[in-house]
Symmetry: C2
Subunit: 168 residues, 2 copies
């Protein structure tokens, strides 16, 4: 029942924040376990994914796409290279640039972890039963809406300024 749940919510954040946080915490914990052995964790997987793609581009381009700092990228790629999952290939057209390429082992590990993540997603959403797809769809729509309109900075900043400006 939701009795225990009510107790957890009482006096804390508002409903949405609490639920969103709880779900994400659970998801993150599960993903961390799946990616525990992979250097760089989630970001390591992102870089590996980019390196496994057809035209990954150089290190800086990948970093830019993923929103990772260039200096952090260096350490991240270092670890992936050490693990034998990625190599830094010289770019014939620009000798400053290094192109990231996934090794055979990199491709194999990537496939494995992606399958494991898919299983985790299924597992995470299991409590919702048939309505799991509904949640996926709603979240997807919301996320896409943010992309086209980056959270309407105007609106949010207004809300942040005054306490309770325009009600609906």
């Amino acid at each position: 029942m939701s009795g225990d749940c009510e107790a957890a919510r009482r006096g804390l954040d508002d409903d949405l924040g609490w639920a969103l946080g709880a779900v994400l915490r659970g998801y993150v914990r599960a993903v961390e376990q799946v990616l525990a052995q992979l250097p760089g964790g989630t970001r390591g997987l992102q870089v590996l994914t980019a390196a496994a793609g057809p035209a990954s581009g150089n290190q800086g381009a990948v970093a830019g796409q993923l929103g990772i700092d260039r200096t952090v990228m260096t350490y991240l790629v270092d670890d992936l290279v050490t693990a034998g999952l990625v190599t830094r290939e010289p770019d014939p057209g620009d000798r400053r640039s290094r192109v990231l390429v996934a090794t055979t082992a990199g491709h194999r590990v990537l496939d494995e972890r992606r399958r494991a993540l898919a299983d985790v997603e299924t597992h995470i959403l299991a409590p919702l039963g048939a309505e799991a797809d509904q949640l996926r769809s709603l979240l997807q729509r919301l996320a896409c809406a943010y992309r086209s309109e980056p959270l309407t900075c105007s609106g949010v900043e207004e809300l942040a300024a005054h306490g309770h400006s325009s009600t609906t």
Copy 2:
């Protein structure tokens, strides 16, 4: 349209992780703006909420409820006291213990920020229109399910171990 959205998703995490992350990122950014002036941000609000409650208990009890480390709690309360939102009252029954009490200003700020957060939630979920409540409900159910069964460590750890164990 979802064209731009597709581009963002391609080659990154799986759908759920990406959508969940994007939504949470947007939410966190908005909340941070709303709580920018409040010492301690989100956790500051949690502590303030507890201090404004009827029987908040001593510092350690509040820290335990909120999952905040005792040492972090000290700094957090220090800042709230400096801001004049909370006071440390001596506990008559135990001179080691300090009871957290929200000041008049603390109550006022708390009410303001809670209203502002409610507005942000409405704003954040606006793209979903009438289906916003559906998302709230689904997330709530999921979060509550995790509370009763803390993400079935057995199941997740199995999934983490092998790459692709039991396909449904």
